[in-house]
Point group: none
Chain length 226, copies 2
Amino acid sequence: MRVLVIEDNLGIQANIADFLEPDCVLDFAYNGDHGLELALANDYDVIVLDLMLPRRDGIGLCRAYRSEANLQAPILMLTARDTLEDKEVGFAAGADDYLTKPFALRELKIRIDALAKRPKIKNASSLNCGDLTFDPADNIVSLGSSSKPLNNKEGLILRLLMEAAPNAISGETISYRIWGEEPPNSGALRTHIYNLRKILSSLKTRCEIETDRSRGYRLKERSFDE
Amino acid sequence: MRVLVIEDNLGIQANIADFLEPDCVLDFAYNGDHGLELALANDYDVIVLDLMLPRRDGIGLCRAYRSEANLQAPILMLTARDTLEDKEVGFAAGADDYLTKPFALRELKIRIDALAKRPKIKNASSLNCGDLTFDPADNIVSLGSSSKPLNNKEGLILRLLMEAAPNAISGETISYRIWGEEPPNSGALRTHIYNLRKILSSLKTRCEIETDRSRGYRLKERSFDE
DNA sequence: TGCGTTTTGACAGTTTTTTGACATTGATTT
DNA sequence: AAATCAATGTCAAAAAACTGTCAAAACGCA
């Protein structure tokens, strides 16, 4: 079972780690931004979310996750706030369970197990931009009736481009989202972009990958006069 | 939203009714037998279950429901018992949430709403995909009159594939669901898929296990022209 | 022990991913 | 305007990863 714990208090973190570690693979995030990033990038069975976080508020994180994530893991909120209003806000933001501090670790464990049992919700998964459609579930780009399968990396890159569109996304960001801390040490990304472009143009789409020199890439619909 | 409330205390019942009635269609059961009967016969969005019941204990009811119901509604347990052991027993019996008396009606409402959001689990006794039928109870796949028994692992894998169909399910996920944290350290899964394929093709089914390279396997019905 | 189940390990074939060498581009400096 | 430099495009080929195949070994149980 994979669990993401977004909690800045190191003591609580350590407790949770000790208690859950035998049964779970745990990832930790120490602030909201990092937490959201991990949550979106990976497929967890449960997300444990403290509401008091540096960098990004837990409620906001939860909302953002619910609206952006493709595969929705259940979220268990953890907080010292225990008024009904707080709970209402938490559940309204998309929580699935709510535990107030101090709590027993065993109860946390029990509730995590219960949450993990329920099936995950899939968000409507297909993306589009201009005349193009991309379905990350099966890595297929299509324009009307014609379509092409992408391989894994190409799919990831196109997904990032589509999610970012019409803004540019930096090569560094793409690289980090795909490879994490250790990207290949040569211009692999360049090659993938090159291949993606070939595939897109073979589809005769009006979308193309623009490069914004030294800033990144952008997926854009060509205007008629080009 | 349809909610079944299994609760013998008339006062609590009335309170719940008053509070939830505007948003929910409520059914009430006053004892365990009646509760189980209603639960199995109807399709509720949530079941609120008091644990102290005449005629049939709530825990037993919950277990019975989980093993017998085809469409599994989430169960919220309601009880005065608040020790961790009680909660453990409750969740182990199949509860999805657990609220101890006395509780605020608003909190009950909030949690009911949260539970209702999640999709219900299907407990279909037999699965099918295209022309194939698989009965997980006795591990037999069949197509019309011809059928083949599967061994344990093959059955588990076919079940996962059928549940996921028509989507792909990753090798990692299958592996985790079958072996947990410690999968065999060699390509056992590959071998099982290989054998499953042989069995399927011996049945002359139009379903086949497609592989989605680097993303997993998918059970798919061949189209006519293939 | 014997038998069915499950895992292992080796190999081959395929696809994906990375590498590296070189060309091109655009901005900046001289 | 020419020279320069970093960023990017292009492409083929090497490397790595993934998958299918199958026989044999290990396991678990009656």
